[in-house]
Amino acid sequence: MKIQKIMKAIIFALFIMSGSFFTLTLFPNGSSGENESETGIITGTVKVSRARHSGDVVAYLEREGLKKEYPPLEKHSTLDQKNLVFIPRVLPILKGTTVDFRNSDDVQHNIFAPGKVEKFNLGTWGLGGIKEYTFSKPGEVVILCNVHSEMVAYIIILESPYFAKTAKDGNFRMENIPPGTYTLKTWHEKMKSAPQQVTIAKGEIKEIHLELKKRK
């Protein structure tokens, strides 16, 4: 009888350990860890009027009382300068994220932010060089290259991890959203945001279609 109890205890301990291993493997940062059935998904399309394509729109969620501080990912985001353009042109990040600015061209490039949210100049450097900068304030930061004045990129610093960037066809998908009512907002370099209320329930996949119009 005693042996049976000991065996049950060992099996139970092994079960717990394997469960922990499974969880850690799937969610190493502990960023989500939430059971997908406990969260929802927003998917949809954004149509940008009178534009070549509907990409580079950042869709993001805001909610009163939403937890304000989310730990940024340890992994850096990258903004590359390649063939005289910034790649990507639009980079949404979570507040506190560090961005690596890389030069992949033979020509020298500069990184310069003239805006109100963040104002800095990282200098000018050549092929293969990388400099980093951590963005600690939410908002839009315009990135320019002083050597090539036509180059521009936008870093959108967001307070919550619930955001997505549209592909050229306007499609986007946001996952692991806790149930609740949010305001879905958008950012585009030329279009105005069209906020709308979204209520998401456990396990729900909500489809949303937006059309953006030019800022006046």
Binding site: L84, D106, V107, Q108, N110, F112, N121, G123, T124, N146
Partner: protein, 421 residues
Amino acid sequence: MKKVWKFWLFGLFGFIMFSFLVQTAQSLPTFSRKFETSCSTCHVSVPKLTAFGESFRLNGYQIPEGDEKYIKQKPTSLGAEPWKEVWPNAIWPGAIPGSFPLSAWIMFDGKAPLQGANKELIFDFPHEVEIFMAGILGENVPFFAEVEIEGGEVGAEAWLGFYSLFNSDRALNLRVGTFEVNPLPMFFDHLRLGKEHYLYNNWRMPGSENNFRLRGGKPGLELNGIVGSRFYYSTGILSPGGGLDGYGTFRFKLGGTPYNRSAPTEEAADKAIGVLPTGFWVDNAFELAAFAYFGKTDVAADVPDSFNRLGVGARWTYQNFDLAAAYILGKNNDPFATGATGSEVDSKGFQIEGSYYIFPWLIAEARYETLKLDDTVTLLDQKNTIVGLIWMLRANVKLVTEATFSNTSDNILNVRLIFGF
């Protein structure tokens, strides 16, 4: 004096109106279109070049490290690359620009005397129209053509280059055509910052049938090249006036962007971290140059005038400052066809020019230049002082306001508006 004030008021009004009118101007010349990049990538103030622009020019209108990946407007192939392997049983493959490589620069001039009895204002709208065609016909085959229409007269320059001969990595290049010799790069008249031509590049022997002057296109052949990244040479034969002229130049650069690179060396790169970026024109460097030109032209039937011009120059660029100076000597053996011994005319020229970038769109310039021609008596002893402001209203729209003070003519206020597309 009243008219001068009117001139200023008109100029100011025009400046303000133009600033509003060109809000939507997006026109960019040939290379801007090809690479989808701004004029300021190559020019600090059109036509004066940045260090990158100079490398681009010296490498035959190609980005030194290879420009294929940067070209946004793809060229039309005149034969696939593997045809090179088939040569001589096939024509060597080439390419033509994806669209007709046409650009234009248009200049409006205005001037008013600052002294003297004549107070007339002169508007010369347009003073000059320049039409350019430039590009490459496949790798290492650059071409350039310019048609100038000025005062009812039409002039043309055109050349074709064959660069990197014998796989020399641009150490041995050939140019054939009509081109402007560039005796001293710091005083290359075609690429000057302000309006006034450089005195020594522009002068002709007064009263002589020898009409030679350094500036302007001359037909001929030139060999040039970059040796060891910081040494550049050019030598050529020209036939501007029936005779055969020869010339040689060299230049050497310390610091900054090497001639065969797009960027400064790691040590010279701007590592400054601050709120504002340093200017795109910054290339901290020191450059030395020298040239020799030998020519001969008939000034009367069977009476030749042999002449030479020798010069040295230096340029120091540091942050927002740009300072250049040159000393040039010349000799004409018989410019007035006297046939007598001792009829030589010596020329001596000195020029110094400084500029300062107040803002990326506002540059102050100052120049002092002298030219002295000595026969048995002094034929000419000219001293010019030029001060001005260069306003970049857009990357492709430039306003020059320049005052010229001379001991041989009336002092003049010049205004030039240039726009290109």
